[in-house]
């Protein structure tokens, strides 16, 4: 009921332009884009652009108030009893990220349209990209942290799809799998952290968590929770030692790298740090864990970046380093450091996305990304070179470009511990990283665009298509604009984002190029000069690096771990899976028995309860004897398959009688008709199977099986006895009381099926339909040659359709159909209903097939059963949806009494339409199964059997 109701609520919400729609639009758009891509190659690109613009349009009305400091929270009730709601939140930080995701996403969509070649499937690319965009928006707009985690994992999954976009390439698959393993593993840790956090605070809502810093930080579970949350953030943001997935993810198409590995996905980790900053920061644990990780990553990434020959490899390590810088800033934990962290998030996204795009252009137009081959491109693509130079200068932290501003704020913040012992380490390491950054930026520009003439390039270089450069131009223009006029451009969004990071007043900060001659400026100058020197002296450095290179390959460690994991899981699987169903079933049943018995023995348990027993009458005792005898005889005779089947049928009829005895007429009718259908079905199949089972088990094995079967049967009997002799409480009174006034039917079982628990029934007929279709798929066009002899080598009777039976069955058909209609219609009030009527109809029709042959009958009932199955499911579902139109939950039934001439008063219930759907599915699925098995037969009668199958 809760689910049905919430579906209904969710539908109502669609009438509003709202926050949840911002995150949902890309998901819906992904399907749309995948579909329109069939119309033409470029439709997907246009479609994706339109979707991103639409999401932006939905977001924009909310922006004004967010800038004014308002926090939007939109709550959709999901499972309120469990405290689970779907809640979206828009505050400054969320807005900043949403804008970055959408705007840079738009530029990437434009860029990718020119980047992808004609062999690449545009629809798939843009659909994945939108999936990713939606997941990312979901993270930054979530108020509930469990919901945030769901989107978090969705980014891992969708980025897996994007990285492995070129599926035929081994490196793509390896890179994608590595990214998924590391970030997905981190996601699991994060789930643990969030659950602990929820336990500590007592709520999964961010607004509560952010206000509970004291409770959280004084709790005994603070440290384990912090470690788990940080593991999530560090793996996502490629922090040391989890950084290795990022360079390997460079196997992705460059637009993906530009989007995921600079502006969005890896930013999710630092977003988490920023989001949780007010709640988790300010403790020594936070300071040490986050600072050390950030500092190591900053220096390590920058160092390795200097020696990468691959353009994208260089940018990947540079990204790692910059993410380390942001992490370090949040680790330092002063309000100003947090502001600097947010600022650097913005700047890095802008310059790194443009650099990746520039690298993509270079690769696209020259055919290589190897800096040992590339040189002197200035002559051939000056425009691109200029754009790359501006972006690289920003990355290096050169004044007048945006990277300089946040880097200088960073340098200033590293100084706050300088008077502590070892306090000089932080600014020194920061300056070192600055030197490396200048060196690799210089290398990027100098090697690629200057440094002699280009020789040995796969393609003759030239400028890319005009529109491919537009996204880069926009971003580079922003680099300059922010770098020169920070207070006029970036300040408002930075202020509102930083306020929501701090959850308090903003510290005084001055976004200006010139702050006077201070220590930070000195550090910048050292970095610039040192970087140039380091680049000039790169040969001895490179030689040194050559020697320690192998030791820095963390990928080997990962591969080693993964190899071990596969090896051991393979061993466990081989130990448990014995490739023998018999042994597995034996282990399974024994295990269940042991488990059940341990439960029995451990407790104070009397076998017989105090419920009054029903007296035994002689007929019941006789029936029990017959059932028991037939069942045991089936087992004894099981190798004579036909006889075993007949005995099984007898047991089934006995079970139907048990249903009759214990006041379950509906069940008895169902069991009776199912029994007929089942026996016919098994008979049909048996025709093609060996008529006897060979004696295959040893006496020992059979005795073992007999023992375990007896123990299992005995345990179940004891269990039934123990239950039946005890009183119980039922929830049935509700159904009994409401069946007539609420459901309009006196047959409570049927009312439960089509009304109270209609949702279950809908699921069940779907399962039946699928079983029918599955069987159809298996036997369609199957040609089998059956035996011409029975088990005793007697030939089958030539007269397969006896005249008397054929005539009678034809006469009986209308009568049988009439009966089934009667059963269907009366089902709401008396034993009957869709299931039983469906089976009766199926049996009546199957009888025609048996008596008159498949071909004769097929000519007269040419109905395509697939259509009937579909129609049945459609009618049942439509009946459910119809109640939405009247504002009721899914599958609410209604009924009325109308007066028909001659017939009299007649009840009309919407549940009857539902039951009709059930009826159609049961008839068609049953017939589909039986007819197609029968068709196999008829072919075998026509075809000459090649050999006898025994």
């Amino acid at each position: 009921m809760a689910l049905q109701y919430s579906l209904f609520v969710a539908l109502n919400y669609f009438h509003f332009m709202n926050l949840s729609l911002v995150a949902l639009t890309p998901f819906i758009g992904a399907v749309f884009v995948a579909l329109v891509s069939r119309l033409g190659r470029l439709h997907a690109a246009w479609g994706a652009g339109a979707v991103a613009l639409l999401a932006l349009a939905i977001l924009s009305p909310l922006m004004v108030d967010t800038f004014a400091g308002q926090v939007f929270v939109q709550r959709i009730s999901w499972m309120p009893m469990l405290g689970l709601d779907i809640v979206f939140r828009l505050d400054g930080l969320g807005l900043l990220f949403a804008l970055m995701i959408l705007c840079i996403g738009l530029l990437i969509i434009l860029y990718a349209r020119y980047y992808l070649s004609e062999h690449d499937d545009m629809g798939r690319f843009y659909a994945y990209l939108l999936l990713f965009m939606g997941s990312m928006l979901g993270i930054v707009l979530s108020e509930n942290i469990i919901q945030m985690l769901i989107f978090w994992e969705l980014t891992s999954l969708s980025s897996f799809l994007l990285i492995s976009y070129w599926q035929t390439r081994q490196e793509s698959r390896v890179g994608a799998r590595m990214a998924l393993a590391v970030t997905g593993g981190g996601g699991l840790a994060l789930l643990g952290g969030f659950l602990l956090l929820g336990e500590i605070v007592g709520s999964y809502d961010l607004s509560v968590i952010l206000a509970s810093a004291d409770v959280i930080q004084n709790h005994s579970l603070y440290l384990p929770m912090l470690v788990l949350v940080l593991l999530g953030a560090f793996t996502k943001s490629a922090q040391f030692p989890f950084h290795f997935w990022l360079p390997n993810a460079m196997a992705a198409p460059t637009p993906v790298s530009a989007y995921l590995h600079s502006a969005t996905m890896v930013k999710a980790g630092v977003f988490l740090l920023a989001r949780m900053f007010p709640a988790l920061s300010g403790t020594p644990e936070w300071f040490w864990l986050v600072c050390i990780t950030g500092l190591t990553t900053l220096v390590f990434g920058a160092y390795v970046a200097m020696f990468k020959d691959d353009l994208k490899g260089l940018l990947a390590y540079s990204t790692i380093s910059h993410l380390g810088l942001i992490t370090l800033l949040f680790g330092i934990g002063t309000p100003l450091a947090a502001v600097a962290g947010v600022f650097h998030i913005i700047n890095h996204a802008i310059f790194k996305a443009s650099l990746f795009m520039a690298a993509g252009i270079i690769h696209h137009e020259t055919g290589t990304r190897d800096m040992r081959v590339l040189s002197g491109l200035w002559k051939y693509m000056p425009h691109t070179a200029l754009l790359a130079m501006v972006a690289a200068a920003s990355m290096a932290g050169v004044p007048l470009f945006n990277g300089f501003l946040s880097k200088e704020m960073f340098f200033a913040e590293t100084l706050f511990v300088v008077n502590e012992p070892w306090g000089w380490l932080l600014p020194t390491a920061a300056t070192m990283a600055g030197i490396f950054a200048v060196a690799y930026s210089l290398r990027f520009i100098h090697t690629v665009f200057f440094h002699g003439e280009p020789t040995g390039l796969p393609k003759k270089p030239h400028e890319p298509p005009r529109w491919m450069k537009v996204p880069v131009e926009i971003l580079v223009f922003l680099c300059l604009l922010v770098g020169i006029l920070p207070a006029l451009t970036v300040e408002p969004i930075l202020a509102v984002a930083a306020t929501s990071v701090l959850q308090g007043p903003l510290p005084p900060h001055d976004l200006a190029i010139w702050h006077g001659f201070n220590t930070a400026l000195v550090m910048s100058i050292i970095a610039l000069v040192g970087g140039v020197l380091a680049y000039l002296g790169r040969r001895p450095l490179a030689a040194f690096q050559e020697r320690i290179d192998k030791k820095l390959e963390f990928r080997r460690f990962y591969d080693h771990l993964l190899g071990k994991l596969f090896k051991y899981s393979g061993k466990i699987t081989r130990a448990l899976d014995t490739h023998s169903l018999q042994r597995m079933v034996f282990v399974f049943i024994s295990f269940v028995l042991v488990l059940g018995m341990t439960g029995f023995w451990g407790s104070e348990f009397t076998l017989t309860g105090d419920r009054a027993l029903l007296p035994i009458d002689s007929v019941s005792a006789l029936m029990t004897l017959i059932i028991v005898f037939a069942a045991i005889a089936t087992v004894i005779m099981h190798r004579e398959r036909l006889i075993a089947l007949i005995l099984l049928g007898a047991v089934g009829l006995g079970v139907a009688l048990v249903f009759v005895k214990f006041s379950a007429p509906d069940l008895a009718l169902t069991q009776l008709s199912v029994e007929v259908v089942t026996v016919i079905l098994i008979l049909l199949a048996l025709y093609f199977l060996p008529q006897r089972s060979p004696k295959e088990s040893s006496t020992l094995l059979r005795s073992r099986d007999a023992v375990i079967a007896t123990v299992a049967g005995g345990s179940v009997a004891v269990l039934v006895w123990a239950v039946l002799t005890r009183p119980y409480q039922t929830i049935a009174d509700y159904f009994l009381e409401n069946s007539l006034p609420g459901g309009g039917g006196t047959n409570v079982v049927n009312v439960i099926l089509v009304d109270f628990r209609g949702y279950d029934t809908l699921g069940e007929i779907t399962v039946l339909a699928l079983a029918g279709l599955g069987i159809y798929a298996m036997v369609d066009r199957l040609k089998l040659s059956g035996s011409l002899h029975d088990a005793e080598d007697r030939p089958w009777d030539k007269n397969i359709h006896p005249v008397i039976m054929a005539s009678f069955s034809r006469l009986l058909l209308p009568l049988a159909l009439l009966v089934s209609m009667y059963i269907l219609l009366r089902g709401h009030n008396l034993p009957g209903g869709g299931f039983i009527a469906g089976l009766v109809t199926a049996v009546a029709l199957v009888m025609q097939y048996l008596a008159n042959g498949v071909i004769w009958t097929q000519e007269r009932i040419p109905t395509n059963m697939h259509v009937v199955i579909g129609a049945g499911l459609f009618i049942a579902t439509i009946t459910g949806i119809a109640s939405w139109l009247f504002g009721y939950p899914f599958l609410t039934s209604t009924f009325t009494h109308i007066h028909w001439p001659i017939i009299g008063e007649f009840e009309l219930a919407s549940a009857m339409a539902f039951d009709l759907g059930v009826y159609l599915v049961v008839v068609s699925a049953t017939l589909l199964i039986l007819i197609h098995l029968g068709m196999v037969h008829s072919q075998s009668h026509l075809a000459k059997p090649r050999k006898r199958i025994r």
Binding site: Q582, V585, F586, R611, L613, A621, T624, A631, I632, T634, H638, A644, L648, V651, V655, F662, S663, A664, P665, D666, L667, V674, I682, F688, L689, P690, E696, S697, D705, I708, T710, A712, G713, G714, V716, A717, V718, V720, L724, T730, A732, F735, L736, T746, N747, V748, I752, L753, D760, T761, E764, L768, A771, G772, I775, M778, L784, T926, L933, I949
Partner: protein, 109 residues
Amino acid sequence: MEALVSIIIGVLTACGVYLALRGHTFPVVLGLTFLSYAVNLFLLVMGRLTIGSPPIIAEGMSGYADPLPQALVLTAIVISFGMTAFVIVLALKAHLEMGNDHVDGKHKS
């Protein structure tokens, strides 16, 4: 009466388990059918035994059998038919593809 029901369900389970442990597909299908009989009966009697008062609302009736297990079992019967059908056709197909009807697709002596 409770004892008789316990015996029936116990015997059906025992037969089902024994047949499910056989090495050829056909007896295993029979075994699964037995097990579904047993389970369906088991579910029904969880509503306790009631004689002569089906859950059909009528004037002058006071107690009714528990309708809820009945509704559950009704669909379970139909679903177990679907399952039996699927398994037997699977067995058929396996027999055709493998040339034998052993559950593991191989001959054992």
